[in-house]
Amino acid sequence: MAGLRDDAQWIVLMGFIVSFSLFFVAIVINQSTVVGQTTAEAVIEFPKNDIRGMRDMIIQSEFLVDEGVFNNKTNVQNDIKTLSLHRQNSVVSFSSRNPTGSDPHTYIEIHYSNGVTAYNETWRSN
């Protein structure tokens, strides 16, 4: 072997120094990208428009009526459930309580879940 001579080891040392600085740079880069990436993804992930749309539809549908051959309320409410499930991958359910003598408000319980985001609300008419 090369005996005990070690005058060439500074080359390996330089290799180590450069390697460590590379690792350091990598850590810094990894930290910095997280901010913007998560914001944009969070905006896309969170189904704000889906929830708003479905909530609006449910409230409107509650005040439709089944009359004659037109089952407007039943049809619309079934459509909401089916289309939410098939096109927005979300389970939507709702039920309502009509005004009683002592309480003139209509209440609607709204539940929405797409597996990641769940939304529950008890809507009250004014």
Binding site: A40, V69, N75, T82
Partner: protein, 171 residues
Amino acid sequence: MVMSENGQLYTIEGIAAALILLVTAFIVVNSTSVYTQGDTHINDMQLELLGSDALSMLNTAPNSSFGKSPLQTIVETDDSALFRTLFLNTINNTTGPGGDRIQYKANVTYVDKDGFVSTLPLSDSPHPFVGGEHAVRVSQWVIVEKRFPDCSAGSCSGKHAVLVEVLLWRD
């Protein structure tokens, strides 16, 4: 024969250093996932937001005397040309001079009489969708009074909730 290894000292150390560097570089490049603007979905986010804005604006009439939004009328009468004009005007409008170049493909999704989900084409932009585009999907609920093609039974006339779904991309 006596092998002299003295003269290879620097070469061996050089190879060692080079290996360390290359291995490090390989690990670093593999482990840092660098996000470019395209990767972060920022363009998708902007397009999606703009699309749902535009659809919801189309679903709002200018005042309360109409009773129906332009979008409801378009779906009920299958007015593809009107949708194209209104939608392109809204979505490509900018505050500065010139407009944007967003293209779209719109469908109406509804539930037919057997409870299955069906789709009808509503309107297309001048540049049709061919499949290679990086598109985002936005949708808008509307309640319409319309008989859909495979819905002949009396029970399925009247009002229906449908989804207007639009694919959006920039060309």
